[in-house]
């Protein structure tokens, strides 16, 4: 699987390259600035791009803008965005085109190599990987205001949180140490309570949940 990597801090870039290579990824390009990233995305045709939000030369949100533009040029181009801080605002912009294949994680998540690599693979496959902090913000914002959400059991809320992060039923079952069947039951309950249409497609399910959580009241 070919990866384009953009990160301006040498130590982090080097570490990420080694981590991804250790897990069998091929690094098509590892760049350190916005313009270089734009060129690499256009030329290398990667399977997934791993991009830091803040890049030279402006040190603003160059990486994010670059990723969004690349997805406009090539809809569905899988992009995993990393940052020192997460903002729901950015998550919303990444999810706006509704086509999936996006990830948005705190840089700290790299510490857990297994989970991080899992997120990269998921995004490359067209899935979603949202940072737990983003989801917690979304849930906290809706809590107490949203009656359908109030009708969920604590367990169902837990499942909803993991689902919104982009995890598959199997992964959720593994984390909560229950059977996949039990999770499937929880998810159909959740969808019924929130009034969402049930879909067999994992990815569409995640996007529906995220759209529900992020909608304006």
């Amino acid at each position: 699987m070919r990866v384009v990597l953009a990160e301006d801090l040498f130590l982090l870039r080097d570490g990420l390259v080694r981590l991804l290579e250790a897990y069998g990824f091929e690094i098509a390009a590892a760049v350190e600035s916005g313009p270089e990233l734009a060129r690499a995305l256009a030329e290398c045709e990667p399977d997934v791009a791993v991009v830091d939000v803040r890049l030279p030369p402006t040190h603003t949100d160059e990486g994010l803008q670059c990723a969004l533009r690349a997805r406009e040029a090539r809809p569905g181009l899988p992009v995993l965005v990393l940052s020192q801080h997460v903002e729901q605002l950015y998550a919303r912009e990444l999810l706006a085109d509704g086509s999936g294949g996006v990830g948005y994680l705190l840089k700290d998540r790299v510490f857990d190599a297994e989970q991080f690599v899992d997120a990269v693979r998921r995004v490359a496959a067209g899935g979603t990987a949202m940072d737990p902090q983003v989801i917690q913000q979304l849930l906290a914002r809706r809590n107490g205001q949203d009656r359908p959400l109030g009708r969920l059991t604590p367990r169902e809320l837990e499942v909803l949180e993991l689902m919104a992060q982009g995890r598959s039923n199997a992964a959720i079952a593994g984390q909560l140490v229950v059977t996949e069947r039990a999770i499937a039951k929880h998810t159909s309950n959740i969808f019924a309570k929130l009034g969402l249409e049930v879909s067999d497609d994992d990815n569409r399910r995640v996007l529906a949940v995220l759209a529900y959580l992020d909608q304006d009241r």
């Binding site: 939000v53 803040r54 040190h59 603003t60 949100d61 940052s83 020192q84 801080h85 903002e87 729901q88 605002l89 919303r92 700290d108 510490f111 913000q137 906290a140 914002r141 809590n143 107490g144 205001q145 304006d216 009241r217």
Partner: protein, 415 residues
């Protein structure tokens, strides 16, 4: 002794008045004419190049008058020119024309060539004219009235008697000169000060406000630094120490007790995650990353998305303000929002950011229970102080029972 120094003072006043009068009339006429011509040539471009040197010359002329006013009569006229920026002729011309001191100079030139000239000349006339009269009475009349009489003021001098008649008003004038010549010269400089000097009351008030806001700004930033130091000391720093200790222990246990070492490694990793989390919160409190990345509009939008209350944000900003202004505005909005959520129990909030006529205007309205006051120790008083550093103002309308309307205005330019 007393009299001789008085006489010297009177003579000095007369001489100085004469010098000022002789310089002021041509100088003021020339300066005013050149300035007028130069400024009227600005539309065709030439004026942009001639105006800065002409106005600089006018300033030098005015500065000379300031110097002699202070030296000769102790009248201090502090200059209040704004610094002329570097750059091309157009920017300098523009800056000069925007300076109220420039227009004060031009007004003064008109006064100086009329009333200023007269008041400067008066002490000289009052001293030299009676001297002439006394000379006439003393015999000079013979020379002057050769062609059938000589007029000294209202007296027609034809012989010794009428010459003495001219001597009488001259003596009276000389007494007047002795008493009033020095104060007449200082009257000239006081007139100059009235026209040329900046409004002292306004200046004093401005200085008072600046002193106060500067002290507040320094106090606030010192307190902020103290808080940051404490947070780092008790938070991230302590966690890094713990991490280092854990890693040291791991090194030792690696061979003896791999299971225990693994457990400590996990603990160290957890510490690093927590340290990062604390640093993140700290950074958010110093300068939120989203503010640096996106500017005020999106930073406020991101802030609104973190609120547990439905919030509508409208942004009309054509560019970005200076970083310190953005930061002050951001934290002001943040504080107002915290109040709305915590104390007012608002269910809906509307935020409006708008820039026009050189002012950033932010309104935050909520449907909460109201009753907010800008009192001592309240968060709003802090907001007011923070904004005052930038000459910004805060207005709060919050009747008991709500709704609350907070308006903030900061003069600033967008880029």
């Amino acid at each position: 002794m007393e009299t001789s120094s008085r006489v010297r003072g009177v003579a000095l006043a007369a001489g100085r008045g004469l010098v000022v009068a002789l310089v002021s009339l041509p100088g003021a006429v020339l300066g005013f004419t050149l300035a007028l011509v130069s400024m009227s040539l600005i539309p065709i471009g030439i004026g942009a190049y001639t105006t800065p040197p002409v106005l600089r010359a006018v300033r030098a002329f005015a500065d000379w008058r300031r110097v002699v006013a202070a030296e000769w009569c102790g009248v201090r006229i502090p200059p209040a020119y704004r610094p002329v920026p570097e750059g091309n002729a157009w920017t300098r011309t523009y800056a000069l024309l925007r300076d109220p001191a420039t227009w004060r100079d031009l007004r003064w030139l008109q006064v100086d060539m009329t009333a200023g000239f007269v008041t400067a000349l008066l002490p000289a006339v009052l001293v030299f004219y009676p001297l002439e009269g006394l000379a006439v009475a003393g015999g000079l009349w013979r020379l002057l009235s050769e062609d059938g009489g000589y007029w000294y003021g209202f007296v027609h001098v034809t012989d010794q008697v009428s010459a003495l008649g001219a001597g009488a008003p001259a003596a009276v004038l000389l007494v007047l000169a002795y008493r009033y010549a020095p104060s007449l010269l200082s009257a000239h400089f006081r007139l100059t000060k009235a026209v040329l000097g900046a409004n002292q009351g306004e200046l004093a008030e401005r200085v008072r406000v600046l002193t106060e806001t500067r002290r507040d700004a320094v106090d606030t930033s010192a307190a902020e630094l103290r808080r940051i130091e404490r947070d780092l000391h008790d938070g991230a720093q302590a966690r890094l120490v713990a991490m280092g200790m854990d890693l040291g222990t791991v090194e030792m246990l690696m061979d003896k007790d791999p299971a225990k070492a693994k457990q400590l490694l996990a603990q160290a990793r957890q510490s690093s995650v927590e340290a990062l989390g604390e640093l993140r919160e700290l950074v958010r409190g110093i300068h939120p990353p989203v503010l640096a990345e996106r500017g005020l509009g999106d930073a406020v939008r991101a802030l609104a998305l973190r609120l547990p209350v439905a919030t509508e944000v409208t942004v009309e900003l054509a560019g970005r303000a200076d970083a310190p202004v953005e930061s002050a505005a951001y934290f002001a909005v943040s504080e107002v929002l915290t109040n709305a959520v915590k104390h007012a129990d608002a269910r809906r909030i509307w935020i409006d950011l708008h820039h026009g006529e050189g002012r950033l205007r932010i309104t935050v309205n909520d449907d909460g229970r109201g009753g907010a006051v800008v009192g001592a120790g309240s968060g709003l008083a802090g907001v007011e102080r923070r904004l005052a550093t930038f000459d910004g103002v805060l207005a709060v309308s919050s009747p008991e029972g709500g709704p609350t309307m907070v308006t903030m205005e900061i003069p600033c330019a967008l880029s």
